[in-house]
């Protein structure tokens, strides 16, 4: 059993005192920002990147990964107790979770959410261990043409999954690709779009873009929205779900895990999509769909399992193909690059300690999260009563310190300011920023692979359709595009993003 040996290696790495500590810090921070509305994993990971400079790469990645899936646990707490999604992936949990809380059943809702997430986390950790190695084998057969087609597929998937207008999402991706190639051209050394600024020669830092679009602009928008919204917090009496609760929710947990894990692997996928899809499915197959929105426990169990599963399986494309599938994974690419690791199929063979250590740490992290979230729920509830006026200056400051210390560059802070303004305008104009960030990271990779593919084929663009793997990827991309433009699907898509 090679898998067992690999997992043993992984646990050996993840169970060192130092890595347990960083895993704990990661999931603790993740829970924290998950509970707090107004700051998400993208801004937090970006903020903490410079802090990981001095850590060994394994510890750094273990911690950063913990933030992402930890946020999925924390997000449910806020959704259930105060009807505000702490994370966008917990939006649907509000519907039935808060309804349960108002009926005095906040405890069971929280418990099912945490236990469902733990189950989902365990399953998706296993999936990661099982499916990543064979996928990496496939990835070794990828040439530049396949990589280019894969990125096209990923970007199209991101367009399909973006909220709001399709055409705006396409424009955001193209803008992201363009911003991504600012700086010295890797092939010719020519400085492109640097406007004479030497600081732009290495390109715009992705942390700068992420912090501006997801950190600064969110703060401004939050301050604006802060029209006296009194928080009515539900009381927690008992955490223990009843026998009926378990009976009603275990199937929902299974289905949620399956859907979430599957949708997490897709390029463009992640935690958000899975939670929506899982909720919709539960409502569809329920004997009495009218219970949903009024405190149906399946409506908490399924999406919460799904978002945690999705958060973890979205690491699969990153670790096997080196292609980030969502904004958080785009940041993980950055984190790996900082530590001198090129994401891709070679990670598994060259750095097995890192690969398997990270996977093993996810299971440990999930275990820690159950402890953090169930017995210690009272602490998180207290935290919710900290007013935003005390939180945002701290977030603002840490964002600035984070951006500055990445390159010790004040110009970077100025650039992040620009992206903050841009991000604010995009919020006002209904343009979702996530596709831009994805395009930004993929921009240079896409150009590079396009160039190499064309060189190898002696300038014949037919290479993308004559190589079977590449053709297959493009066909899937095309199918996605056609499906989403069909009027019927379009209407459904709008509905799905409505609630």
């Amino acid at each position: 059993m090679e898998l067992l040996a690999d997992l043993q290696l992984g646990f050996g790495v993840a169970l060192t005192l130092q890595n347990i500590l960083y895993c704990f810090i990661g999931v603790l921070l993740g829970t924290l920002i998950g509970v707090l509305p107004g700051i998400g994993p993208v801004a937090t990971i970006a903020m903490l990147l410079p802090a990981t400079y001095t850590l060994p790469p394994v510890s750094a990645l273990i911690m950063l990964a913990g933030i992402y899936y930890g946020a999925q646990y924390g997000g449910s707490t806020t959704a259930i107790l105060v009807n505000i999604p702490g994370e966008s992936s917990s939006v649907v949990t509000c519907l039935d979770g808060y309804a349960m809380a108002r009926q005095g059943r906040a405890g069971p809702a929280l418990a099912i959410a945490a236990l469902g997430s733990f189950f989902a986390g365990t399953v998706s950790t296993l999936m990661l261990a099982l499916f990543a190695p064979p996928l990496a084998e496939v990835a070794f057969r990828f040439g530049p043409a396949e990589y280019f087609s894969l990125m096209v597929l990923g970007l199209i998937a991101a367009i399909v999954l973006a909220r709001g207008s399709l055409i705006k999402a396409i424009a955001m991706i193209i803008l992201g690709l363009l911003l991504g190639i600012v700086g010295a051209d890797t092939n010719t050394g020519l400085f492109r779009f640097t406007f004479g600024l030497p600081q732009l020669a290495d390109g715009i830092g992705f942390v700068v873009v992420a912090m501006g679009l997801f950190g600064f602009s969110e703060i401004i928008a939050n301050l604006e929205r802060r029209a006296k919204r009194e928080i009515v917090m539900a009381r927690i009496t008992s955490l223990m779900p009843t026998r009926e609760d378990f009976a009603a929710s275990w199937k929902a947990v299974l289905r949620g895990t399956g859907i979430g894990a599957l949708l997490g692997i897709l390029p463009g996928g992640g935690a958000v999509l899975g939670s929506f899809a899982a909720y919709t499915l539960e409502k569809k197959i329920a004997k009495d769909p009218s219970r949903f929105g009024k405190g149906a426990i399946e409506g908490v169990a399924a999406p919460e399992s799904a978002n945690n599963a999705g958060a973890q399986t979205s690491f699969i494309p990153l670790l096997t193909l080196g292609i980030p599938s969502n904004a958080v994974m785009a940041l993980m690419v950055g984190a790996m690059t900082i530590h001198g690791i090129t994401p891709g199929p070679q990670v598994m063979s060259q750095r097995p300690d890192l690969f398997w250590g990270m996977i093993a740490s996810m299971w440990i992290g999930n275990f820690l999260l159950v402890i953090l979230n169930l017995p210690l729920i009272g602490i998180w509830v207290k935290l919710l009563s900290v007013p935003y006026r005390l939180l945002y200056p701290a977030i603002l400051l840490f964002c600035c310190i984070g951006v500055y210390s990445l390159n010790n560059s004040a110009v970077d802070v100025g650039l992040a300011l620009f992206f903050g303004l841009l991000g604010y305008l995009f919020i006002k104009l209904d343009c979702e920023p996530a596709p831009l960030l994805l395009g930004f990271v993929l921009g240079p990779m896409m150009e590079d692979n396009l160039r190499r593919a064309m060189l190898l084929s002696r300038g014949n663009p037919g290479v993308f359709v004559t190589r079977p793997l590449s053709l297959g990827l493009l066909v899937v991309a095309l199918a996605l595009l056609i499906v989403v433009v069909l009027p019927a699907v379009r209407k459904k898509r709008e509905e799905a993003f409505q609630d």
């Binding site: 400079y53 055409i167 705006k168 005390l390 400051l397 006002k428 300038g459």
Partner: protein
């Protein structure tokens, strides 16, 4: 001509602007051929696409009715941006301590709910964190004081 959907129209205008910029600046870069793509090939294609999309979204905003703009809260917008700017210009010449104080004070005034007593305590706490955790704890190379 009336703007029917300002959210589309102005979004389109932003894309148009970036596209225009990419094409105008990018046309000086060598295009190369399909076999040996020059530095200008990829950006020019993208710039042109963005121009087209931007124009399309603009026109959509002129033709199809849509939601109006939300009001823009000038106070949080300007003061938050100012706070970030203050950090950027002060952190190198006068050091992290002053930059932290400046940013917290300006930043906190962005919210009408801030109370000055709290802000003083918050500033001291954040000062402790930024110097204690980031400068000493993590050992990031910050200049602390102007002297």
């Amino acid at each position: 001509m009336r703007i029917r959907s300002p959210r589309d129209f102005f979004a389109g205008a932003i894309f148009l602007l970036f596209g225009l910029c990419a094409v105008l600046v990018g046309r000086d870069y060598p295009m190369g051929t399909a076999l040996h793509m020059g530095s200008g090939y990829f950006p020019l294609v993208l710039g042109a696409l963005l121009l087209l999309l931007g124009a399309g979204i603009c026109i959509k905003g002129l033709v199809i009715d849509g939601e109006g703009l939300e009001s823009i809260g000038l106070r949080p917008l300007l003061l938050v941006l100012l706070a970030i700017g203050a950090f950027a210009v002060s952190v190198e010449p006068i050091g992290l301590v002053a930059a932290t104080v400046l940013m917290t004070l300006i930043g906190a005034s962005a919210s009408p709910e801030s109370r000055w007593r709290e802000v003083v305590v918050l500033t001291i706490a954040l000062l402790g964190l930024s110097v204690g955790v980031f400068a000493y704890g993590l050992g990031l190379p910050f200049r602390l004081f102007p002297f």
